[in-house]
Symmetry: C2
Subunit: 349 residues, 2 copies
């Protein structure tokens, strides 16, 4: 089969590699129909981290079940399925608590995980009963709906997690820091949870336009102190709900500055920190700080329901489409910020 | 009047200074009857921070109202009152939300605040209606009860805040890091909130004995990796409720290591941090991290009620008593860890 393979900084190639096979009785193998390139894929593309050369890439798979392990009970050949960016058994203590990313059997897709990559024609998925969610049959061939569902593999669930961790509820004012795909999905999630005012903070005019389309009532197009001042002005002294969707230290500092005393910060970007100054800022304001890798599996059904009934549409983040051979071009477009997020239509004739 | 005054590292003197007077119509002046020396007073005593020489000291006052400003409506001369370590108006947005330490009119006692110090014969207290809580008349002269109420000025409220922030509820397992007065009060608070198992982590055998007296079901008498291993063993992989009552980076690292995925850390020690490694540890486990300076005023009535009905007794932390002239000796005893916390009986003949 064909798969995208990592060869170092800025070097992703599409190559022929061996087909994956069932290895354990809880596995399925899917034929990938749709996948994405993620902002987090740029970490290795830019060599901020350094996976093994020759590793497969991608962690956002949607596809059709091709082979079914003998202990899999809920899936059969031909089912159209979505997978979160990590697998989960669905049965352990942490899955039952909804913290699927801490599942005792959790595995992650390549290049940083133990599984194959989703930017490929086929993919083995372990713990298939616990991991996968079926797309109802009537939507199986509706490309428009499938595109809206695709972000539920990662960024829409992650944006929603930011909103949940920031305790966003009906009538609230939420500030979303970051205008990448996760930030934009966090805007949509805040709107869905009933926030009345949603302030998107970023510094790309085109993305802030998408933020408005997805539910932002206000946009702040600046950075650092200037952004802080604008938000403080707009919120009369800080917001009770801040969604930090970047992970950079500067973004956490901004979050700690603009949160109102007694407020909440939800954070979903992997923290990249040199110092901990923002912790003291939070401390003196008695802020609640909660977040982590999104337990996407926990949110998949409820988000899918809203996509299918037409009240949620994260697809505007997918503003470029490539086929499997176009993956290197897709990485390049994201690296150059020409694309917010790239959809890969795999195996399209 | 006599007051304790700061003169640098290890140098606290009791001197004659001018009596405080009513300055604003919302003020009262109290005659201090009881106060304490706090673990946090050791920061300046050891010159980790550096207030102005000649400043008064102490922030945990209990006493009798002597003079009443003309806008004070709820207090009169002769009332026996308790004050939290910070003042609050009781009316602003943050007071109404229970975050009294973020009150827009909040002031703090000396040496680091704008007010006088509580280790003195008299004290001016602003925003008296919002700040002070009256001790019911029938307990006014009951020295045993007064000693139990005294920790409500700070450490008992702070320990309770740790438990509230760590989301301790009926039946829970809580781990308390720190065997100082706040940690011991956090043990009592966890018990009061219904925790079934309370593991106290410290490294002073005598204090861990007090922890048992105050409700600890298990004690771990070690530090660092060794303490982590013991707690992980006792909790079969980490606790859902961790109360960090120290503020040192090592204590926050321990907290982040022993918290269970999806669990809660309440933190009430002012963070003293060089790095932010513990943030990433928390992130990957989806931990909720909440805390700050305790809004003691928010908890004072409910804690007083339980002290008065005999179900809460934080007085074991006050294991040394001095008079006003004995304050320097009291600091010395705390500095040498001969005393957990010192009670100062002011003006006793």
């Amino acid at each position: 089969m064909k798969s995208a393979v990592y060869y170092g900084e800025g070097d992703i190639r599409v190559e022929d590699i061996e087909d994956p096979e069932i290895e354990n009785p809880e596995d399925v193998v899917i034929r990938v129909t749709h996948t994405c390139i993620c902002g987090s894929d740029l970490w290795y593309y830019r060599e901020y981290d350094d996976p093994e050369e020759g590793s497969q890439t991608g962690h956002e798979p949607m596809g059709i079940v091709e082979e079914v392990g003998e202990d899999v009970t809920s899936l059969e050949e031909g089912d159209r399925v979505i997978s979160p960016f990590s697998t989960s058994c669905g049965e352990c203590e942490f899955c039952r608590k909804g913290i699927y990313t801490s599942c005792k059997k959790s595995e992650f897709y390549s290049p940083n995980g133990t599984l194959g990559g989703a930017q490929a024609e086929k993919l083995r998925i372990p713990q298939a009963d616990g991991t996968l969610v079926k797309v109802p049959e009537r939507y199986e061939d509706n490309e428009e709906v499938l595109k809206k569902l695709l972000p539920l593999t990662d960024v829409m669930g992650t944006g929603h997690h930011a909103a949940v961790c920031a305790n966003v509820e009906e009538g609230d004012t939420a500030v979303v820091i970051g205008d990448g795909a996760v930030g934009l999905c966090a805007v949509a999630a805040s709107k869905r949870l009933g926030a009345e005012r949603i302030i998107a903070v970023g510094h790309h005019e085109d993305r802030l336009e998408v933020a408005k389309e997805m539910g932002a009532t206000d946009v702040v197009s600046s950075k650092g102190e200037e952004a802080v001042e604008e938000v403080m002005e707009l919120t009369n002294g800080g917001a009770n709900h801040v969604l930090e969707c970047v992970g950079a230290e500067s973004a956490l500092n901004t979050a700690a500055q603009i949160v109102r005393p007694g407020g909440n910060i939800g954070y979903v970007g992997v923290p990249h920190l040199e110092s901990a100054d923002f912790v003291n800022q939070m401390f003196f304001k008695n802020v609640r700080f909660e977040g982590g890798p999104a337990p996407v599996r926990n949110y998949l059904e409820e988000l899918m329901e809203d996509v299918l009934q037409g009240t949620l549409d994260p697809s505007p983040v997918l503003n470029k489409v490539v086929d499997l051979e176009g993956i290197p071009e897709g990485y390049d477009a994201m690296d150059n910020r020409e694309a917010i997020k790239v959809m890969v239509k795999v195996g399209e004739e």
